[in-house]
């Protein structure tokens, strides 16, 4: 197990495109790091660079205090699980798992013991003599993990390992990976485009876009305090509502003006007045998550602003019913208790929990408060 530090790492392709523009990330021994972002954000390139499969244009990568820039993949003490699993098609499961150990000239008895231990841990003992072509996606996924585990590396690298599985299996495997991490206390770097995987698995998340780390922090911190509009919209499902609104001052309160067909209200904001004052009269983006607009019963907090809204559509999900209304000509999603939700065409009293709402500058997309 080892810590990983990435210092000012850049990647420029021969044709001049910058894929990574100065990445700085550090995690401690045994931490679970998630690299998340939309496709093309550079997360897989970064993982390949940690693995030694892609060259580093500038900057340093260190594994356990040892700079590894020039080391070939086999000398970095890493193991990797791929999206396509990349199992060697001509080899049995046993051979797949032992291949890396064999190349490293591990004694036969030790290889056999390792294969046995790993197979038992992942419950694939009965598959050991099969070839990859004779197994289901979930089984192949386990074997791919087994191949990585057998090597007992300093760092595990996962490249979207669950995205080829069906939804149910994906949730199951997610839990297993988390269990494995808790048990082995291994250092893991995990690339995904799925923000739910990012939230559920990670100790630390690096949200990436356009070759830049937009925000690096714990899952809850990123959820509660998104650094900018992109992070706020990317993390969370259904995603945060972004309502264009004007900042207004009424008396000592500063708030945002929200209108629907019936009229307008001002939602007073409990945030830092000094910061807000600068934006009075200006257009901002008012960000509020669906669970922060709800029915009175769910809210069960007094003193929050209430607004009667005209319902356009409802989507029952089971535990909640999503109610869609139109505020400032923007579709807004609200998460309500199923028994409290009204029907389309009706009006419903919605409580706005503004304490966790955020404001963004529409020009820079940076967070205001």
């Amino acid at each position: 197990m080892a810590a990983l530090s990435i210092n000012n790492v850049c990647k420029t392709y021969a044709n001049g495109t910058d894929v990574l523009k100065g990445i700085n990330i550090a995690i401690g021994d045994g931490e679970f790091l998630i690299l998340v972002g939309p496709s093309g954000c550079g997360k897989s390139t970064l993982l390949n660079m940690i693995a030694g499969l892609d060259d580093i244009s500038s900057g340093d990568i260190a594994i356990g205090n040892k700079r590894v820039n020039e080391l070939s993949p086999k000398d970095r003490d890493i193991a990797m699980v791929f999206q396509s699993y990349a199992l060697y098609p001509s080899m049995t499961v046993r051979e797949n798992i032992s291949f890396g150990l064999e190349i490293r000239k591990t004694p036969r008895a030790e290889i056999d013991a390792t294969v046995k231990r790993v197979a038992e841990m992942l419950q694939i003992t009965h598959l050991l003599e099969r070839k990859p072509g004779q197994m289901s996606g979930g089984q192949r996924q386990r074997v791919a993990m087994g191949r990585a585990l057998a090597r007992n590396p300093a760092i595990f690298l996962f490249d979207e390992p669950l995205s080829n599985l069906d939804a149910k299996l994906r949730v199951e495997m997610r839990t297993e990976i988390k269990l494995m991490h808790q048990r082995l206390k291994s250092t893991i770097v995990y690339v995904t485009h799925d923000q739910i995987e990012a939230m559920t698995l990670g100790d630390k998340i690096a949200v990436m876009k356009d070759g830049i780390v937009q925000q690096f922090g714990s899952p809850q911190d990123i959820y509660d305090n998104p650094a900018n509009l992109f992070v706020a919209g990317f993390i969370g499902s259904p995603s945060m509502n972004f309502i264009p609104a004007t900042v207004v001052q009424s008396g000592s309160d500063i708030g945002v003006k929200i209108c629907d067909d019936n009229g307008c209200v001002v939602l007073p904001l409990p945030h830092d007045k000094a910061k807000l004052a600068a934006f009075v009269g200006k257009e901002v983006i008012f960000g509020i998550r669906p669970e922060q607009i709800t029915d009175a019963r769910t809210a069960h907090r007094d003193g929050l602003p209430v607004m009667a809204c005209h319902i356009d559509v409802i989507e029952p999900t089971g535990p909640d019913t999503l109610v869609f209304v139109s505020l400032n000509n923007t579709k807004v999603c609200c998460r309500t208790h199923p028994t409290e939700a009204k029907y389309p065409g009706e009006s419903m009293e919605l409580v706005f929990d503004v304490s966790k709402a955020v404001l963004f500058d529409p020009a820079t997309e940076a967070r205001i408060v």
């Binding site: 020039e70 080391l71 000398d75």
Partner: protein, 300 residues
Amino acid sequence: MSGSSSQGSLHALADRWLPKLVLSPTLAASLIFVYGFIAWTGWLSFTESRLMPRYEWAGFVQYQALFENERWWTTAANLGIFGGLFILFCLLVGLLMAVLLDQKIRAEGALRTVYLYPMALSFVVTGTAWKWMLNPDMGLQKVVVDLGFTDFTFDWLVNPDMAIYTVVIAGVWQSSGFVMALFLAGLRGIDDSIIKAAQVDGASLPTIYRRILIPSLRPVFFSVLLILSHIAIKSFDLVMALTGGGPGNSSDVPAIFMYQFAFTRGQLGVGAASAMMMLITIVAVLVPLMYMETRSAKRV
């Protein structure tokens, strides 16, 4: 520890250079035997070389000689006739057979085997076989005459005006099965749901072929055209075995012209010039075709 890491970097170095090292013999061969030799032939075509190669620049004399040679123009005309008809009939026959075979035919595998086996034969064998089939005294002509059509003549093989068409017959026989295989593979590669959608829209089967399936074979069509024109321009063995370029020079083609001037008549310069003309022809035909092929492949 330090030992293993220096060994490791040695491995890394090897992995960096091995691919280039492994590829280099082939690249060197390509540079010498393809590019170098083309340049060499090109240079020869601008010299006075006759029986022995000479390397002094002499300008366009060989090309002048070539263009003043009536036989060269005969070969060019023959290439036009043969190439045009060969490609046309291969396309027609190949497409027809592919469409017919696509009708859930019983014994499709056996029929495909039959249509395609000529492709496994040497053009020399094909030429030999058809030379015998088309023999005016004892071949097909006699078969028809024996049937009672006593006036029937089929003497193309020895008729200077018609000899080149026998090459077309044999060439189509050899290559049309291959065209069929390509078109059939193309038809089978089309998404089934497109056909279902067209059926739901009420299109009849001929309409589906005419309006949807055959147009979507465009990329295959260009590939086929590419291969057929390549075969046509290079054709040498078939003509040699079937007619030998005769009677006289009546079915001569550029490849035979080049061979005879360069290797049996001791006219290296003219031979080189004709070879360069063949190269130019191939480039002129293939480059636009390849361009269209990649474009149509992108669009589909």
